[in-house]
């Protein structure tokens, strides 16, 4: 068993970074914790500090103001950390990619381990993305 798979063997704690988003992905991420999907039964928990997190969820297009803060958060995160780009904006910039404040999709700023496309992705898709990612490691 490698070091990385050892790190992600137990409950995954998740930190959520909402960039310049329209809120839809943020809500679908919260929806994963609501009773229908109830991710907490797998030990997946949203935490308030990046220093406690195993997974960094990034959604929304990243504008110039967010870019520095996303980099700073990534540098503060304990490694190894899994980065998941959620939604069309997180993956490519989506409809906002041509905007004047757009500062590049997430993978141009920090390394991304998984992409969950959709506008917004359904909670099932988000869960499936994270499960695939965990199985890969």
């Amino acid at each position: 068993m490698g070091f990385k798979s050892h790190c992600f063997k137990k409950s995954l704690w998740v930190f959520h970074f909402g960039g310049a988003s329209c809120n839809n992905c943020d809500i679908e991420i919260l929806d994963c914790l609501a009773p229908r999907h109830d991710l907490e039964r797998f030990g997946i928990l949203l935490v308030g500090s990046i220093r406690h997190a195993d997974v960094l969820l990034v959604n929304g297009s990243i504008n110039k103001r967010d870019r520095e803060r996303l980099l700073e958060l990534y540098n503060q995160a304990p490694k190894p950390i899994l980065v998941v780009a959620i939604g069309a904006c997180g993956c490519t910039g989506g409809i906002f990619a041509e905007g004047i404040t757009f500062a590049g999709p997430v993978d141009k700023i920090i390394p991304v381990d998984a992409y969950v496309p959709g506008c917004p992705p359904k909670p099932e898709a988000i869960i499936a993305g994270i499960v695939k990612l965990v199985n890969k490691n």
């Binding site: 970074f17 909402g18 960039g19 310049a20 988003s21 329209c22 809120n23 839809n24 992905c25 943020d26 809500i27 679908e28 919260l30 929806d31 609501a34 009773p35 229908r36 949203l46 935490v47 308030g48 500090s49 929304g60 297009s61 504008n63 103001r65 967010d66 803060r69 958060l73 989506g94 409809i95 906002f96 041509e98 905007g99 004047i100 404040t101 757009f102 506008c119 917004p120 359904k122």
Partner: protein, 402 residues
């Protein structure tokens, strides 16, 4: 007064879903001043809109805000239809109103859940979000997506609600009505919620008028402003409903207004469904040839208040100017009245009580320095941004050529 302590909330705080920064200046436990900083969410939508055709702009304005993703297309459709002088068919009007009201239900439930979460009452969060799911399922059945419905277009709607779906919708509504009564009873009778929300974050009638607040925030202080009644659009003049108001102006009154508004929404949807049966199926669109030159104003009542879209057309395929004003833009300013003098522990629920939505509110402002009279964000600095972008593109393309 002692020294003020600055407590920052945000920009990426576990309390809030969206990035924004609040600065609470406190003297002991009491909040003496509040400032907020946005810009983390700016996407330049008004500018982007000028580069898209009228049909494409609907998909863009839908993504201004995911929670009120019908109200922006609604207001934009009203504005463009005013320019073109189009009157949608009755069936399209009913469908528009049904989607708008379903959205109000899901948005208010979402707010109720988050408010419960802010109070440390996670049971309310879980309940409200559980009851929200069947509404999202309805959206998926009608429009094919849980959020961002893509239902609107100039002159009508994209998809019809067939007769076979109506009974299923009514079934979900009946069930929801029962659950909402349960939820209303539970929230209204809870002594802890009373203690935490009554007399907290009070906005008087005069405050609302001074700050031009809109939506449930205004209605909870006794100002019966509602675009659906004041400037009727879509099917709202065709159905019978009441504007819900309360007098107290505190957080409890805002909760009450939202809970009772959901019942009104259910009643509106039921009447619209009855109206649908009378209209011819499939008659959902008026043919639009071209958008003439002109100026259009569109208003719609979002779950948070009045959404205003202003569109200037030069007769071409895309808007020449598109101005958006979202309800949170005015509602957020009431924090200056409602938060100051409260304790820090009450500040979170007071901030949340207006249901602020920062992704709607973001805009580029031109600031003047009063001492020198100079623009802080002037043409030169905008020019610099543009030059930097060109340089960046040239750099990327230069790499490609190598």
């Amino acid at each position: 007064m002692g020294r003020k302590v600055l407590i920052p909330i945000g920009p990426y705080h576990p309390l809030q879903e969206e990035p924004e920064l609040f600065k609470l200046y406190c003297d002991g436990e009491i909040v003496r001043d509040v400032k907020w900083e946005t810009g983390y969410n700016h996407r330049g939508i008004e500018k982007l809109s000028e580069s898209k055709t009228y049909e494409q702009v609907f998909f863009l304005v839908e993504r201004i805000c995911g929670i009120c993703s019908t109200s922006h297309p609604f207001a934009f459709a009203n504005a463009v239809e005013e320019i073109a002088g189009i009157e949608p068919t009755n069936r399209a009007k009913y469908i528009r109103s049904i989607i708008g009201e379903l959205e109000r239900i899901h948005s208010h439930l979402l707010w109720l859940g988050l408010a419960g979460h802010f109070l440390g009452y996670n049971t309310v969060f879980m309940w409200a979000w559980k009851y929200r799911e069947p509404i999202l399922d309805l959206f998926e059945m009608i429009t094919g997506n849980r959020n961002s419905y893509a239902m609107f277009r100039v002159g009508g709607v994209r998809r019809d609600i067939e007769e076979s779906k109506i009974s299923a919708i009514e079934k979900v509504l009946d069930e929801f009505r029962r659950k909402n009564d349960l939820l209303t009873g539970a929230v209204m009778d809870d002594p802890v919620i009373h203690a935490r929300t009554k007399g907290v974050g009070v906005l008087t009638r005069q405050d609302i008028i001074d700050y031009c607040a809109v939506g449930p925030t205004a209605r909870a202080s006794g100002v019966a402003t509602d675009v659906r009644k004041d400037d009727p659009y879509a099917a709202y003049p065709l159905v019978d409903w009441q504007v819900v108001t309360a007098e107290e102006g505190d957080v409890f009154a805002k909760t009450k207004v939202r809970l009772l508004e959901m019942n009104e929404s259910v009643s509106i949807i039921r009447q619209c469904l009855k109206g649908l049966l009378k209209e011819k199926e499939g008659d959902i669109m008026v043919k639009v040839n071209e958008i003439p030159e002109g100026i259009g104003q569109g208003r719609a009542e979002a779950p948070r208040g009045e959404v205003f879209h202003f569109v200037v057309s030069d007769g071409s395929n895309s808007p020449a100017r598109h101005k958006i004003r979202a309800p949170s833009y005015v509602n957020i300013a009431t924090f200056k009245k409602s938060c100051i003098g409260q304790t820090i522990s009450d500040a979170t629920i007071t901030l949340a009580a207006v249901d602020p939505c920062y992704c709607c509110t973001e805009r580029l402002a031109v600031a003047y320095d009063f001492s020198t009279g100079e623009k802080i964000m002037n043409a030169k600095s905008l020019m610099d941004i543009s030059v930097a972008k060109t340089a960046e593109i040239m750099k990327i393309q230069g790499k490609k050529h190598e």
